[in-house]
């Protein structure tokens, strides 16, 4: 196959697999059937598109092909008195046809994946696998667990959805608010996985960011009265606004302080600031709204040197009170370093237990470097290098070690 065609299949897979799995899951009422059929359709695509070329609507082609594959398989199995296959066929035969119904199929599938009867670990893993189309290896790396552990987690979660009868729908209104926080956590992680891919040559996998943003917008349209839903959207919009300035043309990483701020996406920043103002007006703060506000303070400064670090530290104090996690404490230490100096920040960082997290070592390394403790800084940079597979991040860290 020509490289261009192969690339087209891979691109379509990443862009369309979530949508296709969600649509098939609605049509057949079963996630395993949906996932297998979509995978088979992509296998067929790699062969067929070599001869016939890439179709005009590759996503639609995948859904149609996957639907035929699932129907064929289920008809064979149903004739052998397989009750699950019979049930799935019955489901597919009921009046649910159509390429995509409102509400969005993916939103429906996200609420299934984020059902409170599943552990949060399972919720996030399922959504990244089924909605974002990530490979199990990539998800395992994002969660710092072995691949086999992640594979088992996914299998168990899918079994529970099927056997416990976790429904495939967007929750109705009275229960909707309690079902939102896990969905927000998952959408945030999907965006982040795109923003800083855990492995590979492409620092920013824009389609995952776009997916996270699209889902956040959809949630905001569905639940405009929820401040944290708007907060998440504001946070993602403002984070995404940095994207054009975040990497150089060779793909290497640019720190926030060194970014060319004229490259920031002005329209996204304006939209984000407007959302933050709406959130502030409601006065029901939450972790996403506070993180969005932090970002708004950063994007208010025309130069890095004009950043209002006092305000940033005050917001981090609020955030740490609401979400007392070691990662928030680590991020807060960066603001502490600006306001009170690197020595005080290092004291805070050294109290955290985040040995598996590369940004813990990278933050420590930077503080040690600023304190002139070069050998310790080099060791910390190497510890960070051991814990990230992202090429752009590795290049950045290697550059820092050389500059010491």
């Amino acid at each position: 196959m020509a490289d261009a065609d192969k690339a087209a299949v891979e691109r379509t897979f990443r862009q369309e697999s979530g949508r296709a799995v969600a649509t098939l899951a609605r049509l057949f009422g079963d996630i395993d059937i949906a996932e297998e059929a979509v995978q088979e359709a992509f296998v067929t695509a790699t062969v067929r598109w070599r001869h016939a070329g890439v179709p005009a609507n590759p996503g639609g082609w995948i859904v149609t092909t996957a639907r035929h594959k699932a129907l064929d398989r289920l008809r064979r199995e149903a004739s052998r008195h397989d009750r699950q296959a019979q049930a799935a066929l019955l489901h597919a035969g009921s009046d649910r046809a159509g390429p995509e119904q409102l509400p969005d199929d993916r939103l429906r599938l996200i609420f299934t994946c984020c059902h409170p009867a599943l552990s949060q670990e399972a919720q996030v893993a399922l959504t990244l696998r089924l909605i974002a189309g990530l490979e199990t290896t990539e998800i395992a790396r994002a969660f710092l667990v072995p691949e086999a552990t992640m594979a088992q987690r996914l299998v168990r979660a899918k079994h529970k959805i099927r056997h416990a009868g976790i429904p495939y729908r967007v929750p109705r209104h009275p229960e909707l608010p309690s079902r939102i926080p896990p969905v927000l956590a998952v959408v945030y992680l999907v965006f982040n996985e795109g923003y800083t891919a855990s492995a590979g040559d492409e620092l920013v996998r824009s389609e995952l960011c776009a997916e996270g943003l699209r889902l956040a917008r959809l949630l905001a349209a569905l639940m405009p009265g929820e401040p944290e839903v708007l907060g998440l959207l504001a946070l993602l919009v403002l984070t995404d606004a940095h994207r054009p300035a975040r990497t150089r043309s060779d793909g290497s990483l640019v720190l926030l302080a060194e970014q060319d701020r004229t490259k920031w996406d002005r329209a996204l920043i304006d939209e984000g600031h407007e959302l933050v103002r709406t959130c502030l007006g409601r006065n029901r703060p939450g972790p996403y709204q506070l993180q969005a506000a932090l970002n708004a303070v950063h994007t208010d400064a025309a130069q890095a040197s004009e950043t209002d670090w006092g305000q940033i530290l005050a917001l981090y104090d609020q955030l740490l009170a609401l979400a007392p996690t070691p990662v928030v404490a680590l991020n807060r230490s960066v603001a502490v370093a600006e306001v009170h100096g690197p020595a005080e920040a290092l004291l805070l960082v050294d109290r955290l237990h985040l040995e598996g997290y590369y940004l813990f070592h990278a933050t420590r390394a930077d503080l040690l470097r600023r304190l002139g403790r070069r050998e310790e800084a080099a060791a910390a940079y190497r510890a960070a290098l051991d814990r990230t597979a992202n090429t752009a991040e590795r290049a950045f860290l290697e550059g820092r070690v050389e500059a010491l």
Partner: protein, 117 residues
């Protein structure tokens, strides 16, 4: 339609409810049972005597060997159960919440393997 077991879990050694509280719980469970029946969700239900009344039977070399129970040496033991019909897990969880409120104990929801014909 699926079937679910709603298992009521009792913790041994916890403070026993007063006779009045027991009476109140019985009344509440009765009302809940009636609700299950009128909603068509009822399959079967029952309360169990304490685990000290249990006997375990296992097959050893083809022979049934009987020992004093309970089987699991834990503080948490099955105290009673409902078997219900529900459309999906959300409906089952909604009923389990009502059952838990009625009997004043945690309820574990487990799906049955076969969907009823």
């Amino acid at each position: 339609m699926k079937q679910y077991l709603l298992a009521v879990h009792m913790v041994e050694g916890e403070a026993q409810p007063s006779p009045e509280e027991m009476q109140q719980a019985y009344k509440q469970v009765d009302a809940f049972n009636t609700e299950l029946q009128s909603a068509g969700a009822w399959v079967f239900a029952g309360g169990l005597h304490p685990p000290a009344t249990a006997t375990v039977v296992r097959l050893r070399d083809g022979k049934a060997v009987t020992t004093d129970g309970p089987f699991a040496e834990t503080k948490e033991q099955l105290g009673g159960f409902w078997i219900i019909n529900a459309a999906d897990l959300d409906s089952a969880l909604e009923l389990a919440a009502k059952g838990s409120a009625a009997c004043g104990a945690p309820v574990e929801v487990r799906p049955f393997q076969e969907a009823p014909e």
